[in-house]
């Protein structure tokens, strides 16, 4: 009997240590992908697939001993060039002054490539998957599986040689792909891309550090938050909605952000939409209309809307 229980314990220990080492291998891959996008000089193009719609971008990044620069260029829309130099992000508008924010990454790029590993490891398990060939390169799968329900999963394919991300799928709770980020061209070089040299030296507008205008006090309460989310203290005001907005909350789990808007009822039916991985949920009653927008499941959005009192 003793011998049998000893064998069982040994099996359990072997299985647990196997799972731990698989997770360690996963986080090592995660480090590799973050290192690639933060430290390499590269010139790459990628597409974002949302349903039948495709958006194409060119993304350049360069790093010297003193400075870091990256440039995101939308290729097929009348979009805005976005430039980041160190911790300043510039939205370069046509015939208007640039809009400047402080951020260590461009928010329009996949946040999980830049966010702190400690934050992400609180929300996700990382497991290394199989190898495959993607666009003629050896790709290694890395699965980020959400620890709590209602949060989307990510599957990343990394270039086995460089660790550069080749594809990122955002998957729903039941493993349906909602959005796909796919690299179509990639060039990693030892030197700073030529296009970035001039931008590195270009004189750019300074940010104006106006005190952030906070929203007026809310007349409603949000009585429930999804697992891992916290309210962002004093989000910026939204002047274009100030006539119609009764209350607003911005929630964050460190990686994702969710907005909850409360407005007067338009007496329209309750509806849910999805723009890629972003859920837009509108709940209406006789007095109020609550709109939840963010990368959460419809069920989580419904619970949030129902938690407005």
């Amino acid at each position: 009997m003793m011998r049998f229980s000893g064998v069982c314990s040994a099996i359990v220990i072997v299985m647990l240590s196997g799972a731990v080492s698989a997770e360690q291998a996963g986080w090592q891959l995660f480090d590799k992908v973050q290192h690639a996008v933060k430290h390499y000089n590269f010139d790459t193009s990628f597409v974002v697939l949302k349903g039948g719609k495709v958006d194409t971008y060119r993304w350049l990044h360069g790093k010297t001993a003193e400075q870091e620069i990256e440039h995101l260029i939308p290729l097929d829309t009348s979009g805005v060039d976005i430039l980041r130099r160190d911790a300043l992000v510039y939205y370069l508008l046509t015939e208007r002054p640039a809009f400047v924010t402080r951020s260590a990454s461009i928010p329009e790029l996949p946040a999980l490539l830049f966010e702190d590993k400690d934050i992400i490891s609180r929300l996700y398990h990382a497991v290394a998957g199989s190898s495959s060939v993607m666009s003629g390169r050896n790709a290694q799968l890395l699965r980020l599986t959400a620890k709590q329900g209602g949060r989307y999963h990510y599957w990343l394919w990394l270039d086995a040689q460089t660790g550069f991300p080749l594809r990122i799928d955002t998957l729903s709770d039941n493993q349906h792909a909602l959005e796909r980020w796919l690299v179509t061209h990639m060039q990693i070089s030892a030197e700073l891309p030529e296009n970035l040299r001039a931008l590195m030296a270009a004189e750019l507008p300074q940010p104006v550090d106006n005190p952030v205008q906070a929203l007026p006090d809310s007349s409603h309460q949000l009585t429930w938050l999804p697992d891992g989310y916290q309210q962002v203290a004093e989000p910026a005001s939204i002047p274009q909605l100030e006539n119609s907005l009764l209350s607003y909350w911005l929630l964050s789990d460190g990686l994702h952000q969710v907005s909850v808007f409360v407005q007067n009822s338009q007496r329209l039916p309750t509806q849910a939409y999805r723009d890629g991985a972003t859920t837009i949920y509108v709940q209406t009653n006789a007095q109020l209309e609550v709109t939840v927008i963010g990368p959460v499941s419809i069920e989580t959005a419904r619970q949030l809307a129902a938690a407005v009192r």
Partner: protein, 205 residues
């Protein structure tokens, strides 16, 4: 020999194929090459082509021109630099809180959302394109007897419903833009708050 040469050279100038021996003799004889060029020119004139072929020294001239050219940057970067210089007066942050400036960023960056939302309602379901999980409840949710007047009322109602849905979509687009803008300025807002207070604090509802 001359007449023989002229026959196959003339045929060659009309795009007729050359034999191996003919090609060899053409390549080895400068005189034949000049003759072929003259035939081509005659042919071009007969065909009323506007201009005779490029002169012999074209390639050399072109190489000289290329050597003299300055090195160019890619247009996107150069154009961008010009734009930056033109708008260098100050950052728009002082004014970005005004709806107009904010709308400009939103229009460029979040344009995708308009189409995304519309598509979502129109397209057939597949793996990357799920249908709305909550179907819209019809506003006309009452039962009435079928009659001629009912058709008219129903049509008018459908029109009103469509108009209401369009309005709703515009409103949702505005909210989606506001959400994206909040994400863009979140880090800045948090930094500003950290600077203005000693540490982070929770904002209870």
């Amino acid at each position: 020999m001359s007449s023989e040469n002229q026959d196959w050279l003339s045929a060659a100038s009309d795009n007729q194929p050359l034999g191996k021996a003919q090609l060899d003799s053409l390549l080895s004889s400068a005189e034949l090459q000049h003759k072929l060029e003259r035939y081509q020119t005659i042919g071009a004139v007969l065909r009323r082509e506007a201009k005779s072929p490029l002169p012999d020294h074209f390639a050399n001239d072109f190489a000289t021109l290329l050597d003299a050219e300055p090195a160019y940057q890619l247009q996107s970067s150069a154009g961008l630099l010009t734009r930056i210089r033109a708008g260098l007066v100050q950052a728009a942050n002082g004014r970005w809180l005004q709806p107009v400036a904010q709308g400009a960023v939103a229009a460029g960056v979040a344009l995708m959302a308009v189409f995304g939302v519309q598509q979502y309602q129109q397209q057939a379901p597949d793996m990357l394109n799920p249908q709305p999980l909550l179907q819209t409840q019809p506003i006309a949710g009452f039962a009435t007897p079928v009659s001629l007047s009912q058709t008219t009322v129903s049509d008018r109602f459908a029109e009103q419903e469509q108009q209401a849905m369009l309005e709703q979509q515009k409103r949702l687009q505005a909210l989606l833009n506001a959400h994206r803008q909040q994400v863009r300025v979140m880090e800045q807002a948090q930094q500003a708050k950290h600077n203005s207070t000693d540490g982070p604090e929770q904002n209870e509802p």
